[in-house]
């Protein structure tokens, strides 16, 4: 049984059809990439999954729950973690505080008890432990107490990934985790994604423009173009699909031909 199943999804903003009859199933524990030219509807699809957008029609099923009618926080509680294309962190807080926020769904004690007991609360110790594990995992020790606003962009994206990991997600939705990064940072993130896959076994849905990363780390690739799913399969199959080459890689080839 697939981990996440999307069936016949439609989404439109007024006259613009963002997603047209998209079906997609993500198997448990794999890295599933979604690619496509700008405006293909990739981010819209992620937004549907974690409840930011409500689709016009269709069904999204995650571990037997129908997500289409749930609120984002309910979906998050089910174990759907996510990072954003543009960093969405609390800039005036430290890395540690941002990561602890990722645990917020797991806090059981209420406002009063949390406020009175503070750091003596054993629950808080457990959460800190989890956060420290994530810091260790993503090698962020040196930034533990740094303010997010003072960190380089590449590191901020890593912190965001960390916050998503702190949620203990069953599935991670990553929206362009390597955008705006240099070669070295991209390599680091790709390695971390593989580590998450191998060590924790989280299913990962990945939107990515860097074809090198997609071909290297993903097990399955879905290609969107103007809201339509045009191809799906293992990376090497998709890479050679004439439809994909025309829609996506074609632009580049044409450009190359012209310059040549």
């Amino acid at each position: 049984m697939p981990h996440l199943e999307i069936r016949e999804l439609f989404l439109s903003f007024g006259g613009i059809k963002a997603l047209i009859d998209v079906s997609l199933s993500v198997e448990k524990g794999i890295i599933h990439a979604i690619i496509g030219p700008n405006g293909a509807g990739k981010t819209a699809l992620l937004n549907c999954i974690n409840g930011v957008y409500r689709p016009d029609r269709g069904r999204i099923e995650f571990e037997g729950h129908d997500l289409t009618r749930m609120k984002p926080d309910e979906i998050a509680r089910l174990g759907v973690g996510r990072t954003f294309q543009n960093v969405e962190l609390f800039r005036n807080m430290t890395v540690l505080q941002n990561l602890l926020l990722g645990r917020h769904n797991h806090f059981r004690s209420g406002l009063f008890r949390g406020g009175v007991q503070g750091y003596r609360n054993p629950e808080e110790v457990d959460h800190r432990k989890k956060v420290e594990e994530v810091i260790d995992f993503l090698e962020m020790e040196r930034w533990r107490k740094a303010y997010v606003k003072n960190l380089p962009y590449g590191v901020q994206k890593r912190v965001e990934l960390g916050r998503a990991l702190c949620m203990d997600p069953e599935i991670l939705l990553l929206d362009e985790p390597t955008s705006g990064m240099n070669v070295e940072e991209t390599e680091d993130i790709a390695r971390f994604i593989l580590d998450i896959h191998e060590e924790i076994g989280t299913s990962i849905v990945l939107i990515e423009h860097d074809m090198g990363v997609v071909m290297d780390i993903s097990h399955m690739v879905t290609v969107l173009d103007f809201g339509n799913k045009i191809s799906e399969g293992p990376p090497h199959v998709v890479q050679n699909d004439p439809k994909v080459i025309q829609a996506y890689l074609g632009e580049e080839q044409e450009r190359e031909r012209k310059t040549a």
């Binding site: 020790e141 533990r144 060590e199």
Partner: protein, 601 residues
């Protein structure tokens, strides 16, 4: 069985100190303590595990890792088994790893993580003797199907089983180690040619730590942070060998980047830094001061000269007048105490600089703030330390008197010769090079220097690096280079002039500080290169060079300089693993720049 070998010494310490803290490692944000007993358990487990996997007496084992407790376990385990441990710099690129692992004929490689394993796997086909790659952190390696890869804990597990069946096995192994056996090999960084493997015996090392502990006051309550590469003999002595002799505690930061933070948590009482570290600390203070509030700036400007005057009295052996002492007390309250805390040096009883010459200005600066940085001098080939300045009796510009048991003679051509009980056994598989450096009982250091009236040694420079200008003048470039590097805007300086009419320099800017300087002035730049090409940056450095020139004789001044447009890097073979400049590589790579310096373009 009271034999003088490293494993015997270690077991004796474990016997006496059992549950006291031997090591501390910051893990998941908390300092975890490891007692001497636990330390010994790891060593025993790993040792027996290695034997079970086929390690034999006299075999070599390479260790590729940053500083972690497992480094020490592996090191001592190999020695206890009668093997020879070889440290490899974790920053070494794959070709150098191949050279060292291959040349040392290592049968095992102990690697820290995926990064190091990948390097070894890359060159595996050239290493027919290699049996297993043992990995401390298996993260990212679960799907590697290579049968050579084995987790560190698994080896310890195998060893623990052996120990259960045969509890006397470990002691028997240790008793087989003889003082004359080679214990470890240190590959010298090799500013010229490929690295050479210096063999050090158990006896060498025991003699060294005995004289060292006589020369310097170490206590078993001391705290040290281990952060410089352990394959270097100085860090090895301080982090592995001296602790087992003295009994002090060694601390490991989470990573190289968090050392400053760890300093502020541990406040080490013994701190060893290479000149680069001290220079970096100094420029950090200077730069941070520029950003400080008006009041802090004023205090800094007022109090620094007080410290300077006070330290001048102390350095020349005189007593500062009462009023100055009072002023210094104020300065300590308002500035120096905070500075020391900020740098994590407030408890540093022994602050040591070594491994390369340091500029006296840097030492003076730290001395003014009440941190006495002692310069030491030594060679890997005589097990690390030859001379050292002693606390309370420091002579700036000299490396101090020889340590007990060390005899020093200056040859006719100025070369420093040494005689002691810890001269190394020789270079591995290179009797010719050994014969060149070890002649009729003396070790030829390759450095030029002189001994002053107080018996302190003053190093002029490396023999090979002395510049003879076209005018026939002998000039020691390192002195000028160190003065240039004192500037917070200069990271590296290479003075040239062999056979030329005047001296010139290639200068690498300190990227962070210059970038900050540029931002404050609204100078646009994108990368290191564009910053180095900027005219105003050139002017800034020009002023710094002029400032430095004032302190030298006319022939020793730098007449022209060029800024390097890339940062020198170990990977590009411009620096050694210890970040020393490889002049040959630089001369070749930047030949066009050097020619331009002298052709008047």
């Amino acid at each position: 069985m009271n034999r003088n070998t490293i494993p015997h010494l270690f077991l004796k310490r474990v016997e006496g100190f059992g549950d006291r803290v031997a090591l501390r490692e910051k893990d998941f944000g908390i300092w975890q303590e490891i007692s001497w007993d636990e330390y010994a358990q790891h060593v025993r487990g790993f040792c027996l595990g290695l034997i079970e996997l086929g390690l034999e007496r006299g075999d070599h084992v390479s260790i590729l890792s940053e500083n972690v407790p497992e480094w020490l376990y592996a090191d001592l385990a190999v020695q206890a088994a009668g093997g020879i441990s070889v440290g490899v710099y974790p920053t070494n690129p794959a070709p150098e790893v191949r050279y060292i692992v291959g040349h040392s004929e290592s049968v095992f490689c102990v690697c820290q993580d995926q990064e190091q394993v990948d390097k070894v796997l890359d060159v595996k086909h050239d290493l027919p003797l290699l049996k297993k790659i043992i990995v401390m952190d298996m993260k990212g390696l679960r799907n590697y199907r290579d049968p050579m890869i084995l987790p560190f804990e698994e080896v310890e597990g195998i060893g623990a089983e052996v120990h259960q069946k045969d509890p006397d096995r470990f002691q028997a192994l240790v008793d087989h180690v003889r003082p004359e056996d080679v214990a470890l090999m240190v590959y010298t960084s090799g500013t010229t040619g490929p690295p050479k493997g210096a063999m050090l015996s158990h006896r060498n090392i025991i003699n060294m730590i005995e004289s060292l502990s006589k020369a310097m006051p170490f206590y078993n309550t001391d705290e040290l942070i281990s952060y410089l590469p352990l394959c270097h003999i100085a860090e090895r002595l301080l982090s592995v060998l001296l602790p087992m002799y003295i009994g002090y505690t060694v601390n490991f930061a989470e990573s190289v980047e968090t050392v400053t933070e760890a300093m502020r948590e541990i406040y080490p009482t013994v701190f060893f830094g290479v000149p680069r570290i001290w220079e970096k600390m100094l420029s950090m203070v200077v730069i941070k001061m520029k950003d400080a509030s008006w009041l802090k700036k004023k205090i800094y400007q007022r109090m620094m000269p007080v410290g300077e005057r006070f330290s001048e009295y102390n350095l020349s052996g005189g007593h500062p007048p009462l009023f100055l002492r009072f002023q210094y007390w104020i300065a300590w309250l308002t500035l120096f105490r905070a500075l020391q805390m900020e740098l994590g040096l407030s408890r540093a009883r022994l602050a040591i600089s070594g491994a390369a010459p340091i500029g006296p200005e840097v030492l003076k600066y730290f001395h003014s703030m009440g941190v006495e940085v002692l310069e030491v001098y030594g060679l890997t080939e005589e097990t690390g330390v030859a001379c050292m300045n002693l606390p309370g009796n420091q002579r700036l510009g000299s490396v101090g008197p020889p340590i007990p048991g060390m005899e020093i003679r200056i040859a006719e051509d100025g070369e420093i010769l040494m005689k002691c009980s810890h001269i190394f056994e020789g270079y591995f598989k290179d009797p010719e090079a050994t014969a060149r450096i070890k002649k009729d009982g003396w070790l030829y250091s390759g450095d030029v220097g002189e001994i002053d009236e107080a018996g302190s040694l003053k190093i002029t420079d490396r023999k090979k690096e002395i510049i003879i200008t076209a005018g026939g003048k002998n000039i020691a470039p390192s002195e000028i280079e160190n003065r240039l590097k004192f500037s917070p805007y200069i990271n590296e300086a290479i003075v040239l002039g062999e056979g030329r009419k005047y001296l010139a320099a290639l200068i690498q800017i300190e990227y962070e500080n210059v970038a900050k300087w540029a931002q404050e002035r609204g100078i646009a730049y994108t990368t290191f290169k564009s910053l180095a090409q900027n005219k105003e940056v050139y002017e800034l450095i020009h002023k710094e060079v002029e400032k430095a020139n004032k302190e030298f004789a006319q022939v020793e001044t730098v007449k022209k300089f060029k800024l390097l447009e890339k940062e020198l890097d170990h990977d590009d073979e411009e620096l050694t693993a210890t970040l020393k400049v490889r002049r040959k590589a630089i001369n070749k790579k930047f030949g066009h720049l050097i020619d331009a310096l002298y052709s008047g373009k």
